[in-house]
């Protein structure tokens, strides 16, 4: 995984991809206990927004580095990486607000816990609800920041339903 994220950062540093943020289960692992996942979701901002959005330059750059396409992903250092255009307002905001994590030999950008929670709520699959519950139990999120995101993206009603269904006794 470290090598995979290093290549994603390299793609950013060399201008192949614009601002990006790791999302999904891999990003959640930065805040919670890691759970098994089979791929990496990388959300990418296209700025300025092109008339026709294409991922071809990413596929071509990865192919040159020896990383082949595999279905809807690109196999990078053993991990299928899905490069997903950030086109929806909440996801765009999540990429812009992402935090940089740096270690000696690795730099990467990860969505905040609050944005991951809001995206999980909006996506609303059973595995998203499970992840959301883990976030709530961990107490890691800033409640004010989360509430602010939920209000701005019209997710308060969905949050109340989630609370009633999964959190309240």
């Amino acid at each position: 995984m470290k090598e995979t994220l290093a290549i994603v950062e390299q793609l950013h540093a060399t201008g192949v991809i614009g601002p990006y943020a790791v999302g999904g289960a891999v990003a959640a692992a930065f805040y919670l206990e890691p759970v098994a996942t089979l791929d990496v979701d990388v959300f990418v901002l296209f700025e300025p927004a092109p008339l026709i959005l294409t991922l071809t330059p990413i596929y071509e750059a990865c192919a040159k580095l020896g990383y082949p396409a595999e279905g809807e992903a690109i196999l990078v250092e053993g991990w299928p990486v899905q490069f997903l255009p950030a086109s929806q307002p909440l996801v765009i905001e999540a990429v812009r607000a992402a935090v940089t994590r740096e270690a000696a030999d690795l730099t990467t950008r990860v969505m905040t816990a609050e944005h991951l929670m809001a995206i999980a709520l909006q996506t609303g699959r059973p595995k998203d609800h499970a992840r959301l519950t883990m976030f709530v139990e961990s107490g890691i999120a800033d409640p004010d920041r989360l509430r602010d995101i939920l209000i701005r993206h019209s997710l308060l009603e969905a949050w109340t339903k989630f609370e009633n269904r999964f959190l309240l006794p």
Binding site: K2, L5, V26, A29, F30, E33, P34, A36, L38
Partner: protein, 53 residues
């Protein structure tokens, strides 16, 4: 909840908390291991035509 069950729940919760507090680089290594284990278990699972009847 009886006390034995309570102990098990507390111990599981402590384990989860330990994992949560691992440094992020170690968590990335764990993702590799979890993925490998998941794929191994999937491989070991009998295919539908091999399942006992």
């Amino acid at each position: 909840v009886n006390s034995d069950l309570q102990k098990i729940i507390q111990s599981k919760e402590a384990g989860r908390r330990r994992l949560r507090e691992l440094p992020w680089l170690e968590k990335l290594e764990m993702l590799d291991k979890l993925r490998d284990r998941h794929l191994f278990l999937r491989q070991m699972r009998p295919k539908p035509d091999q399942a006992p009847h």
